[in-house]
Symmetry: D2
Subunit: 367 residues, 4 copies
């Protein structure tokens, strides 16, 4: 019976990983990187198309576009007075405070724009449709040229959402900067490990790709203590450590030697960056684990933590970062017709696999 | 709400991965490799101890020990006539036909003996306590010297079982050996893919570590078509391919360059063995996938499939192996006091990590 | 002064690695794989062109072509009676016994044909011009379509030859098959190491790419003792070991994880194949070393040695292979105009580097 | 004959790589890291021993020790007035200007102290005997506890010196900082490549281990153009690139995934650090090559160059580093009795190989 129950859970998980949603779209959030003029034009076209399509729709674009001459908000309103009151401008604060305002996010650009969406929506993230202007990426799964069809279908028939695991990462600062005689391992898993006097939170981030703790500008390597739940795993001597979500497995994790990982897997990928020992190998852990990466008190230098390749914060001796699964996953919208094959196709495209021809070998001795 | 539901499922999975069971032990199965004389003595000692402990217990040892002079079954019965009828002998057939007979398996030896238990019990496997005679391994988690305490506690208080994923692997033989004009990709995922006339099953195995398809005795590399569900992933030019369970991640998978994987992760690890292209990297897939590895019809040579490093079967052009999660996991008994830390400890022990001292670096330029 | 002398030697080595030769061509050896009909036609065209070009030239083609209907030797002689006595047929024996007969080898096909030339000429190898029928390879550096220009220039102005390191590999058989109490390490580097009673030579091969000692058809790994000069380096637990020349660095060595190595480097590349320990890394040794790879007496199984991927010989416990630089390098003819850049161009072509455009990244997070 | 000549050169190279020298020792240079009190005591003991041994010897210690209370120069002179005029103090300037002053360097500490010796002596380096205070390293081959025997033998019988390849690395700064329309590839290998107006030298370093060009404090990867002689090899997207000597092969090169390389090999090791493409592999090039690593004009960020892990210089877009074999190798003194086996022993010691026992496997499935 046990086996059967386990089997049932597995099936349930599988179904949950890709969910079909009916949308009641009213407020549509458009995201571009505003410094790219071509993208601003694209977002104008898109806003225009949506506002025309249905008088109930409201479109939000970035505040900075309000006065942007290419976006030309005034021109849009002039052209079609019915847009008035339905073309609005979002701010970072609205994303942080009232994410429920938005029914859907349309991201235009590359995978970097999707990361930016994740960055803006630190808690609840609206379902996000990512349009690519060039070749499709791991996260940008819709061709912008086909947006009229894609959006008409999505608004009418609903969408399929893949709930991408995000991490919640918190920087913990050592209190009372006197390091003498202190031991990070003792403080984190020893008898007094619950003593809140030793460390204090200094900021929490929800991240979609990876947390990296590395040597930053130091020419020498980092020493990093790695903890899992209430265990001290090991002390890593390396350029750094990369803790990646399945979504991030194709990014820095791959460069550091980690495996490709299907986004539906409920796992965490831990990979050392240029380990200075031969005994470390990439490790796949359950996403129910709580990881902590810290700098020992007797380290000669600080390490640096970065979150999705953006923020870079100094971790001084005694500081650490806590990483665990976030309660706020990232709902990435999948193309309807290729829900199951989507990931393999993006891998195949990016690594230049060829599914029907033989791969060109680098050795031809057999000829 | 969606996020919360996903979160709930994740918690449930976590609980299921390690289950506490109360045992009603009556029939105890002892497994050793009978060609090792020392182990035969150990199994005699163990049988004796169990039969003495409780008059309700029945012990099964391997048939070949019935006449073994070291085991000296006659001597045991003579010494203690109450053993009569309670010392029995198992055969391979009993494992295959009536696995429910046995309430628990006691395996003595190394991790290889646990693989042997998995091999014997191709369908339902009784909970297995693995005793190591030397240093502990990934699967042998109990020190034989402490068996009286370990077993007394297990029989009285129950056990914690980790349900290890096994694969069900089936060899599929191409019918009508004329390969001319045939295309494996077309036959497996093309329009006629359901046509049962093309292939026929030739044996199914439940395996605990890995399925390897490789070049076998050929000095040249293999060409292997890899399919996932109804997709053709890629054509691999390599010495072979290793499809590993999380349990097998520390075995051949690691040698082939794959990652270490916590046994609770519901994943499949696919790793090429000496790929002859630079574009292949180890891949982590959900355990809900059905993989197929086949030899194309126009391959110059056969490939060979091996299951847990035991059987080695030739796959001729057109043949393939289907690999999917088995409904019959392997219930490995965990030490009570270290349910959560067990895996990391075995990794740490085996890779010579040191959790309290610094690792010796291979470079000492910093001194 | 010491530094200056070392510097001078280095310069001298550099010059010697690529030598300009004036040819006195008289006897020309044509090599194709005779089972490929298209290549047979090509070799007929080439022989015809050469025999017409100069009445002093003699062309040798493979014996089996004498009666080949596509090559149609009789037709050639009939068409041009002056060919009589100048169209000859070579045998394997002539290559082995009288290699000096031939002034130059023209190899048509892929890199495999060049390996075949190396195989035929086990001692002295005539300078070899390798023509590719398709895309250029690491060893096939001339486009067959341009042979009239290439050969006219070569015969008139001379050629530039790259002397490729070959290995001399000798299989050593343990005498008196009783392994009890014997120790390979003791026999090879211990006090009695010079005792010729323990082992006897069983064949020597000159090889251009690599010697591989591996598990062959065994499903389990190999145990291999590795010796360098009179040192026991280590015991390797692996699928096998690959000992490669710089020329072979782009072949099996690369698949096994070894580095790319410029062919002018006087080095030997030793790479484990799927090592079952984490402590082995590819090693680059001087080509003045004498390596020995052996099977320990207490190994459970044989290993297999293969030479340039051709012969595969069983090494039973106690046997070993000796590998050292051969006195007979392989003189590969380089295109005149790109002597220095040739290798990098072939790497670049084969690994799909692009020297003017940016490489397509596998991550696009930066966009 | 060609083959024979090549063979002769190879033998000559081999002999030159390890040279026996008779010493006429008069001026002895002692090197320690002066901030380590224990080492200062050791250097005092050593100076005392040498000055007593022979009235002709002069000992030089670092200037900063002149007033050091632990070294207590005054106390030494007081104890033995004959030391007067024979205990001298060196400065960085003397190392740079008059390296010929010193007949031998005695380095006390770890491998880092040997790197420091290489740093001090940027041109000619006196033969260097490196004493380890703890376990022996790759460069510290003498046990300090045995210095009386080691030095007596060296002074009386001579030494064996291994000439370690060093690189000469020069930072080249782009002139006229206007990057618009400029192309680094064009400037370095195009028609105007010799135009000295584009770049100007900004410092040259002789280095013993490696030159690293990396992203430094940037969270994003680097884009690096790699040139060999007058060829543009490729554009590398990576955390950085490591160009290592054979001596440095066991340092950062190994962490970045490069091979172990015997110090006698006349080669350069080029290894990408976390390459963001799958098509780059470590490359072994002849030490006669001139490499250049540059930052393209259109790069978004600077890169940083570091030399033996010490100096770290910013390379702005358009700047590059030239790397070639130095005319000033590093003469490392080898223990007399193990000239040939020295390197393998240090590898074996550091990677925990065991030459007589079997290595502990990470998998034990075979038991």
């Amino acid at each position: 019976q046990l086996s059967d129950m386990a089997f049932g859970i597995r099936e349930l998980s599988k179904k949950l990983s890709q969910i079909r949603l009916k949308l009641h779209v009213k407020n549509i959030f458009i995201l571009v990187k505003a410094h790219d003029e071509a993208l601003v034009e694209n977002s104008r076209e898109l806003a225009d198309w949506i506002l025309t399509k249905d008088g109930d729709y409201t479109v939000y674009v970035e505040q900075t576009l309000e006065e942007n001459s290419i976006f030309d908000a005034a021109g849009l309103l002039e052209k079609n007075p019915s847009y008035r009151g339905r073309l609005k401008f979002w701010t970072d604060d609205m994303c942080a405070q009232k994410p429920q305002t938005f029914d859907i996010v349309l991201a235009l650009g590359g995978d970097g724009t999707v990361l930016y969406a994740s960055w803006l929506f630190q808690r609840i993230v609206p379902p996000t449709i990512a349009f690519s202007l060039g070749s499709l990426g791991f996260l940008t799964k819709f061709d912008f040229e086909l947006y009229p069809q894609s959006l008409s279908t999505a608004f009418a028939d609903g969408i399929t959402v893949s709930l991408r695991l995000r991490f919640e990462a918190t920087v913990m600062r050592s209190q009372q900067r006197d390091a003498k005689g202190r031991d990070l391992v003792e403080e984190l898993i020893g008898e007094e490990s619950e003593d809140c006097h030793t460390h204090r939170s200094d900021g929490t981030y929800n991240i979609l790709n990876e947390v990296v703790v590395d040597r930053g500008p130091n020419p020498t390597m980092s020493t990093i203590e790695l903890f899992g739940d209430d265990e001290h795993f090991t002390t890593i001597q390396a350029d750094g450590i990369c803790v990646s979500t399945p979504t991030g497995s194709t990014a820095y994790n791959l460069a550091a030697g980690g495996s490709l990982c299907h986004p539906d897997n409920p796992v965490v990928l831990v990979t050392a960056i240029c380990a200075h020992t031969l005994s470390f190998r990439p490790i796949i852990l359950p996403d129910t684990i709580v990881l902590r990466c810290g700098v020992p008190y007797d380290a000669r230098t600080s390490s640096w933590a970065s979150f999705d390749g953006r923020e870079r914060m100094e971790l001084r001796p005694g500081d650490y970062v806590t990483i665990s699964a976030s309660r706020f996953p990232f709902p990435s919208v999948l193309p309807l017709n290729k829900r199951r094959t989507d990931w393999i196709e993006s891998i195949s495209r990016t690594l230049a696999w060829n599914s029907r021809q033989r791969q060109k070998e680098f050795k031809e001795w057999t000829s």
